[in-house]
Subunit: 329 residues, 4 copies
């Protein structure tokens, strides 16, 4: 992988990159969707609990992942954090080639205040991400009072150009009232933007992945019900973007049970006197092969050729094809 | 994170490390269990498909992960690959401190030929790992014929000192007959070693995580039924090692509904005339707090103090405790 | 089980009961929570797709389940359907004993128009259910226009006495706009009622369990992402009500590895010369037992007595306890 | 549903049926696969814990389910229990029509001694079931000694005519050693019969569904890791038999974004001046429809006609089709 830290020209502002390298063996994922993560921390810090563990979770599902530590602090206006976020998004787009990113598929993800930042970029920025993932987000302008900072009400910024959103929170969040999520969903709905929303019954603010290793050792930061948000977000991303491409690999499935030939399961061929004779003659090792691995009988000669070319060589296969085609049934 | 490559004094032999750093916020995971992965490839290569994606999957679940590229090739005897594996295991143990590893909790994991190597280390080595994870492993001495290399039959090496094993494979594996897994399980059972074994009905050899991004773009390398092995392996690891430690965080749950005090839900206090008077007097902001976030009423004053210390200060809490204790019910 | 149909004094109005019988072997579930289901159908029919399959799903999870076919039709006012629902709820409460119901744990569940009915009972009725489960519910008074019937806006009926709610729907529901769910969640939040809300990105109206066997054979009525609502509802019910009670069964886990006695794994006893002698003398069959089942060695003599009383009799256990206690370590 | 008890001409021998009725709304499941369950109990009883709860679990997944209470007791030879089982299987086949069973898809399922009976029927009977599901089964002839009854070693009865098997057990089962499952899997493998095998690390004998409501209230009878066997068995059944049939419901998905017509999302039509004029003229209610449900804009006119025929009538749709086809782009 390519793990890097890209410092900005500002103190403590940086992108941390978690990038899958290319591999000869994995040609179908030369370009991957990317997730750009904004940790929470009330615009006064960027929490480690919502940074690397979340990036690794998305990376493990095949995505490229990035964490932005943005400008924070009492004296920092929202516009500075916002500028950092926009710059980070543009950085990914501009370096798409070298970072092996499909730049049509970049999601911003943020938690709490970071969710406010992610939703701001997704709604207010000209060059938008194509999706957003928001964990127990601050949304309403009134949250600014709590955070002692002037903040835009992101629900007011939604238009029909806003990309689809995945949102989760808990109904009894004491720090960021759940009405933030509800009002945002309402705004998306009013503008015809599709969204997914999971509000779990119970759960403290700031759960991150809600697992033991993101809990700081506190039991009420572990929450199996809420932890399902992550898998749901993967299902959702595959819903809007599709999964990584795969091709039919027809050879293995081209099984013909009615015609006797190189695509017929060997067991069926062996039940036919004439075929059996041909097989045992042309493939003297067949008997011992089937003794070692009786399940092999459910495969055809062409599959055997593919997976055991040392036992069923190309030449043998060709010859068998000719011989079997001569059989009249 | 600490991503590193540690070269051995041999061509193409190296450990790749995927190590969680320490964080002030995550003190309960200063030491983590580790997974040492041996990719498969018939002792003639080390497949990328069974290397980094598997390491990242375990890392995302909170473990330290390492991939060993071991000596391979027609002319390389088994003993060389084995020596590399033992050396890698010892490297982890010796560098446990700097790699933030709990050295009592190191599992080897291997696929196909890599599974043979993992099982060999787990059975034949003096300084054993504490667990092994084997994917569609070669086990039997007879596999050596196929791989054109003299190999020990690992099932013959099992003793009651062998650590617990997690094994998965598919019943119709054409390349490595499933009897390898069955014979190994049988040997473990005969020596009273606990194990977990998942043999799925159908699935081609070499599935790795069985997901789109490990499939090389081939449809029959994607297999949702078999893909469950990974989650099962996490459940199993937590079964043998326990999960990361968490502590009760009693403050949040100490809810007293019968006694009126600072641990009583505020809604209940407000239903009591005298309490209500005290609250509204000492907490003038309470009304607006509850308007903004009506769910707050289900929390106690001490929880509010903890999560909104700017609204319910320590001084207020102390004073309220005194006042409420004076109430006779 | 007790499967019954209880006809009301009205055409086509009836309760169908799916009731677990008592069993000597299952004493911890003599009383079970109950789910009372109102199928949807626009108040003009009661759909089979949202009736029995849903009842069976809850029954399979251990609950008592009931389906109400309520009064429907163009000429039927809402109040009649409502009366049927209230009567059904009271029927369950009054017959709690014979139906093996824990009457403190009755949830109403409804889909579409049935969701409107369930939410109406949960908010407007004096004797409330203790929970509600709503699938893509009609909530708003404005839905009455569509259904050509005067309907109460259930969101306006929410108070702080309203029981907790589980709600699911899809963001692109064409028939019942998702704003119904959002407005209801908002009302619950405003009154401090805890709730769980899952709005899935995509899914046609009327998905029921979203599985093949509830699909009427239409592919777009099968939706694995939405199908997760059912399991989430079980997690939620266990969150608000708790699970069925179980007791610690301490005998099996009282394993002492340091003291040598009847609670020590047999393998450990056999490693101690003196113990081994005692065991082989008092338990002549032990050797053959361990040959048949080597894992038995990880169990203690008291566990063996419990599970194989024919091999380790009560008398033998008592004698062994005395003998082993004499050993000085 | 059709819940019935069919008594045999023997004391305590009976089939209990859990049969889905037909419904006009569920035409794709007029015939369903069936599961015939043999509870365990050491051939001395038939345990309720492995009877109805298991039947209900399969029924809830859409299958027809049946429980057989077979002849048990010290004096009853195996052949009598076996005869009962064969008779029950034949009963299902003969009454397939009235029980709405697809008689090509009948699985036997059994637990412990019931697993021995299920495997016996599947191997020794002329008219075989098409699949078997075995929970912690007795298999070996040597189990007869424990159960004090002469029993066939079912592993010795396997041939290449044996139907596929799903087997689960636990590696530390004290009552029925896991070697029973391993030996049976080995026999299946030797005869080229595909199988699925899940051996979980830890779990007491007799777990049934391993849930609270099958636990008799004992904590060690609840085991979330082992409880996964049930869902795995459903995946397996769908693997061998396929799922219930569904048809493409093409209308909903025939979305054309490039051509302007009745299959184009309405939002796109409204962005085109000329189209917009036609729509507002022919569909005066459209504006208020979109205000109520903004997501409706993502649907086409033909979908609207299908789901809201009162708003977009057949006549309107026809007219709109004609008008829109005249537009030159």
């Amino acid at each position: 992988m390519n793990y890097f830290v890209k410092e900005f020209d500002k103190d403590n502002v940086r992108i941390t990159g978690y990038v899958h390298d290319l591999s000869e063996e994995l040609q179908n994922v030369n370009k991957r969707p990317a997730i750009l993560i904004f940790p929470g921390g009330g615009y006064s810090m960027c929490s480690d609990r919502e940074a690397e563990p979340v990036a690794l979770a998305y990376m493990a599902e095949g995505y490229q992942a990035f964490v932005l530590r943005y400008s924070v602090g009492q004296e920092i206006p929202f516009s500075e954090s916002y500028d950092d976020a926009v710059k980070a998004l543009n950085y990914l787009k501009e370096h798409g080639e070298e970072l092996h990113i499909d730049i049509e598929k970049i999601a911003v993800a943020g938690f709490s205040a970071g969710g406010h930042l992610a939703a701001s970029v997704a709604t207010m920025c000209d060059v938008k991400p194509s999706a957003m993932i928001l964990g127990y987000p601050c949304i309403l302008a009134s949250m600014g009072k709590l955070l002692k900072k002037e903040l835009p009400g992101v629900n007011e910024e939604v238009t029909n150009k806003t990309p689809p959103a995945f949102i989760f929170s808990t109904s009894d969040d004491l720090a960021v009232p759940v009405t933030n999520s509800l009002e945002f969903a309402d705004a998306l709905d009013q503008h015809g933007v599709e969204f997914e929303l999971h509000i779990y019954r119970k759960g403290q603010h700031g759960l991150s992945l809600a697992k033991t290793f993101t809990s700081s050792g506190k039991r009420n930061m572990v929450n199996p019900a809420v932890a399902k948000w992550f898998t749901s977000s993967i299902t959702w991303l595959k819903g809007i973007w599709g999964d990584f491409e795969v091709e039919d690999d027809s050879e293995d499935f081209e099984m013909e049970k009615s015609v006797l030939g190189i695509n017929t399961p060997v067991t069926i061929l062996l039940n036919h006197e004439h075929c059996k004779k041909i097989l045992l003659q042309k493939l003297p090792d067949l008997k011992s092969m089937l003794e070692t691995n009786p399940m092999a009988g459910s495969y055809s000669l062409s599959v055997m050729n593919r997976y055991s070319p040392e036992n069923v060589t190309d030449a043998m296969l060709k010859e068998l094809e000719v011989e079997l085609s001569k059989i009249e049934e």
